[in-house]
C-alpha cells in the first residue's frame, strides 16, 4: 500500500510541517507562492487586455505543489516543469519580467516568442520546458537521472505531471524504466481532480499512487495544499534518490481551482467541491501559521506586489520578436554558444543547501 501523510491535527498552529525549515525558509515558501499567484493574476489581466496571445493557463490553488517540491531541490539538480508549476521557475531564478514577457510572446521571454504561455524552461537555471504531451517529460527526467547515475553524480531529477498523464503510456514507460534501473528521480503527480473536464473517476480505477509499488518503489500521498508538507516529502524523496535507493512517486493531492484555461468556466465542477477546497487554500494556510509564528506577512505581500509591478513595466517595454528571425536557429550550429553558456544550475534558496556551494 502507498503511504499517506496526514495533516498534523491539533498541533501548534505555528509549527512547521518539516523540522528542516527555518522561519526564513517558511517565509520564502510563502513569498514564492504569493509571487506565483500574483504573477498569474497579472498575466490574466494582460490576457484580458489582449496583450497575451493564444490562451492562458494558471495554477491557482496549486501553488504549494510546485513551490514546496522545487524548494527541496539543489542547484545542480534538474527539473522538468509543467504548466501549473510557475513557482518552480521562480525558485530556480527566472525573473517576473521574463515570465510576463514569455506570456506576451515578447523577444525577452524565455523562449523569445517561439513557444507560448507556460511552455518554457530555462536550462541555464537547470530546467527543461514542457511539451503539450504532458507525461513525455517523465521520460526526459528519467533520462537525466540515468545520466547522473551512470556518471556517479550526487544529483536528482524531478518532474511534475497531472492525473490525466497517468493514463498515457509514457507514464508507464518512465515508471518502469526508473524502477528497473533504480534511478534518482522524483515523480510528482499533481492530482488536481480534473484533466480538463474529465474527473479522476473516469481516468483511473485505482489511485495511481498505488501503482508505484508495482514498479518497485514507494508511492506517497501528500497534502498538495501544504507547501511545507510538499517540501518535506520531496526532501525525503531526494535523500532516498541520492542514497541510491531509487525513485519515489509523490502524489500531491490538490484541486484545480480555475478552469483548464482562460476560456473554461468549469461548469462541470460542483460548486460545493470548489467551496470545500477554497477553505484549504495553500497561501491562506501558510500565512496563518507564519502570522502565529510572528511573521509580518503584510510587508511581504507589499514587497511581492512591488516586484510584480516592476516586472510588468519591464516586460511591457520589451519588443516583440523580429518576424525575419522566424526560421532562424532550427539547428544548433558549431559556431553557436557552447554547453557552458546554454546550460547551468538553478538557484536553491533552501537554507539546508547553504554551505554546500550550491
Amino acid at each position: 500500500m502507498a503511504t499517506r501523510t496526514a495533516q498534523p491535527a491539533g498541533t501548534d498552529p505555528a509549527a512547521a510541517a518539516s523540522e528542516h525549515l527555518t522561519l526564513d525558509d517558511r517565509i520564502a515558501l510563502l513569498r514564492y507562492m504569493l509571487l506565483m499567484r500574483g504573477l498569474e493574476e497579472r498575466a490574466m489581466n494582460l490576457y484580458r487586455q489582449g496583450k497575451v496571445p493564444g490562451s492562458f493557463y494558471d495554477g491557482y490553488g496549486q501553488e504549494a505543489v510546485s513551490v514546496g517540491a522545487a524548494f527541496a531541490m539543489a542547484a545542480q539538480d534538474r527539473l522538468c516543469v509543467l504548466h501549473r508549476d510557475l513557482g518552480a521557475h521562480l525558485i530556480r531564478g527566472v525573473t517576473p519580467a521574463r515570465i510576463l514577457a514569455q506570456y506576451m510572446g515578447r523577444e525577452g521571454g524565455i523562449t523569445g516568442g517561439r513557444d507560448g504561455n507556460v511552455h518554457f524552461g530555462d536550462f541555464r537555471l537547470g530546467c527543461v520546458g514542457m511539451v503539450s504531451m504532458l507525461p513525455d517529460m517523465m521520460l526526459v527526467a528519467t533520462g537525466m537521472a540515468m545520466a547522473f547515475k551512470l556518471r556517479g553524480e550526487a544529483r536528482c531529477a524531478l518532474t511534475w505531471f497531472g492525473d490525466g498523464s497517468t493514463s498515457r503510456g509514457d507514464f508507464h514507460e518512465a515508471m518502469n524504466w526508473a524502477g528497473v534501473q533504480r534511478l534518482p528521480v522524483i515523480f510528482v503527480l499533481e492530482n488536481n481532480q480534473y484533466a480538463y473536464s474529465t474527473p479522476t473517476r473516469e481516468q483511473f480505477a485505482v489511485d495511481p499512487v498505488e501503482r508505484a509499488q508495482a514498479y518497485g518503489f514507494p508511492g506517497i500521498s501528500v497534502d498538495g495544499n501544504d507547501a511545507e508538507a510538499m517540501f518535506e516529502a520531496t526532501r525525503a524523496a531526494r535523500d532516498r534518490a541520492l542514497a541510491g535507493e531509487g525513485p519515489t512517486l509523490l502524489e500531491a493531492v490538490t484541486m484545480r481551482m480555475h478552469g483548464h484555461a482562460a476560456h473554461d468556466d468549469m461548469k462541470y465542477v460542483p460548486k460545493e467541491q470548489v467551496e470545500e477546497w477554497r477553505k484549504k487554500d495553500p497561501i491562506d494556510r501558510l500565512e496563518e501559521r507564519l502570522r502565529a509564528a510572528g511573521a509580518d506577512t503584510d510587508a511581504l505581500r507589499e514587497e511581492v506586489r512591488a516586484a510584480i509591478d516592476a516586472g510588468t513595466q519591464d516586460a511591457l517595454a520589451m519588443p516583440m520578436p523580429d518576424p525575419a528571425t522566424a526560421t532562424d536557429r532550427l539547428f544548433y550550429e558549431p559556431a553557436d554558444p557552447g554547453e557552458e553558456l546554454l546550460t547551468g544550475d538553478g538557484e536553491a534558496p533552501w537554507s539546508g543547501f547553504a554551505g554546500e556551494g550550491s
Binding site: V128, D136, G143
Partner: protein
C-alpha cells in the same frame, strides 16, 4: 583501408567513436548480451560494459525519451530501434520533444537514432518500412541514409558528433550484401550528396539501397551515359548538387524505396520542377513503392519494391524522350 561489409562499417564507426568519446552511450533492445538483432554491437558489451551498451526495457518511447534526457545533461546517446518500423512507438518523443527543443528553448539534443530500415527479404509490413519522410516533414532533426560501407561509417560518426537529433537510416538489405573499402580511423562524411557515377545523358537520384538498384539498372542502356546521384542526406537536402546534375543532363529520374506519396523523391521532384524547369528536356519521372504496406510473400513484395527492371525501363523511356 580495409574491406568491410556495410554492417561491419557501422560497427567500426560506433566502436571507434565510443573509444574516442566516453560520452557516447548505446541504448536499445537486445544490443548488449545478444549483440543486437543484426549483430551490429556484437562484442561491444565485453569492451565497453553494460552501462554504455545498455539493454533497455522493451519501450521505444522510453528509449528515445530517456536518451533526450541523458543528452541534455551532456551524454551523446545512440539509440537503436530494433527495426525502423518501431520508431512509430517513439515518434512523439523524437518529433515533439527532441526535434523542437533547440528551436523553442535553445537547448541542443545530441541524440542519434539508428533505424534499420527497408525491405527485400520477406520482412512483411512491420519489418520492411522506410519511414524517413515522417522525419523530413518534422522540423528539427537531420536525416541521413548511407549506401556504401565507407559512408555508413563516416555518416554515423558525423551523426553522433552533430549536436542536433539525427535519424540514421541503415538499410538492412545492404548489411551483408554491400562491401567496400573503408577508411581507417575516425572520419566524418559530410551531410551532402555524392556522385556515385558521373554521366551526361540522364540523372538518376536515389539514396540507400536504391543507389545500388539505380547503378545496376543504368550500367548499360545502349551505351547511354547515366549519372547516379546518391543523396546520402535527406535533411539537409543537397539542393545544389541535385540542380547541378540536372542542369548538366537535362533529364531526371528519382527512385525511392519508400511509399510514393510525399516521399523524399517527391521533394526532389518539386525542387527540380521549381528551379530547373528551363533546363529540362523531359518530364520529371519517379519510380517508388506504391502506397500500400510492404507485403510478405516474395512475389508480392517484389511487385512492390522498385526493381532493377522497373528503373531500367523508366530510364530507357526518359533517354528516348
Amino acid at each position: 583501408m580495409a574491406t568491410m561489409t556495410y554492417l561491419q562499417a557501422i560497427s567500426d564507426g560506433l566502436r571507434q567513436e565510443m573509444r574516442e568519446d566516453e560520452r557516447v552511450l548505446l541504448m536499445g533492445e537486445d544490443i548488449g548480451v545478444f549483440g543486437g538483432a543484426f549483430k551490429v554491437t556484437d562484442g561491444f558489451l565485453e569492451e565497453f560494459g553494460a552501462a554504455r551498451v545498455m539493454d533497455t526495457p522493451l519501450a521505444e518511447s522510453g528509449i528515445v525519451g530517456t536518451a533526450v534526457g541523458a543528452a541534455v545533461v551532456g551524454l551523446r546517446p545512440v539509440c537503436e530501434m530494433q527495426f525502423a518500423d518501431f520508431i512509430s512507438c517513439g515518434f512523439d518523443q523524437l518529433v515533439n520533444v527532441a526535434g523542437k527543443m533547440y528551436y523553442r528553448q535553445g537547448l541542443p539534443v545530441n541524440v542519434t537514432v539508428r533505424l534499420p530500415s527497408g525491405g527485400g527479404f520477406s520482412g512483411g509490413p512491420y519489418h520492411s518500412q522506410n519511414p524517413e519522410a515522417w522525419f523530413m516533414h518534422s522540423p528539427g532533426m537531420k536525416v541521413v541514409a548511407p549506401s556504401t560501407a565507407d559512408d555508413a561509417k563516416g555518416l554515423l560518426i558525423a551523426a553522433i558528433r552533430d549536436r542536433n537529433p539525427v535519424v540514421y537510416l541503415e538499410h538492412k538489405h545492404l548489411y551483408r550484401r554491400v562491401k567496400g573499402e573503408v577508411r581507417d580511423g575516425l572520419y566524418e562524411t559530410p551531410f551532402t550528396a555524392r556522385v556515385a557515377r558521373a554521366g551526361s545523358d540522364l540523372t538518376v537520384v536515389a539514396y540507400g539501397a536504391m543507389v545500388h538498384t539505380a547503378l545496376e539498372a543504368t550500367e548499360d542502356i545502349d551505351g547511354a551515359s547515366v549519372e547516379v546521384l546518391d543523396l546520402r542526406s535527406l535533411v539537409p537536402l543537397d539542393e545544389e548538387a541535385i540542380l547541378a546534375s540536372v542542369r548538366k543532363t537535362s533529364k531526371v529520374l528519382i527512385v525511392d524505396e519508400a511509399n510514393e506519396t510525399c516521399a523524399a523523391g517527391a521533394q526532389v521532384a518539386a525542387l527540380v520542377a521549381d528551379r530547373a524547369f528551363e533546363d529540362l528536356d523531359g518530364p520529371v519521372r519517379r519510380v517508388a513503392t506504391p502506397d500500400v504496406p510492404i507485403a510478405f510473400s516474395p512475389p508480392l513484395e517484389q511487385a512492390l519494391l522498385p526493381s532493377v527492371d522497373r528503373v531500367k525501363e523508366a530510364a530507357r523511356e526518359l533517354l528516348e524522350y
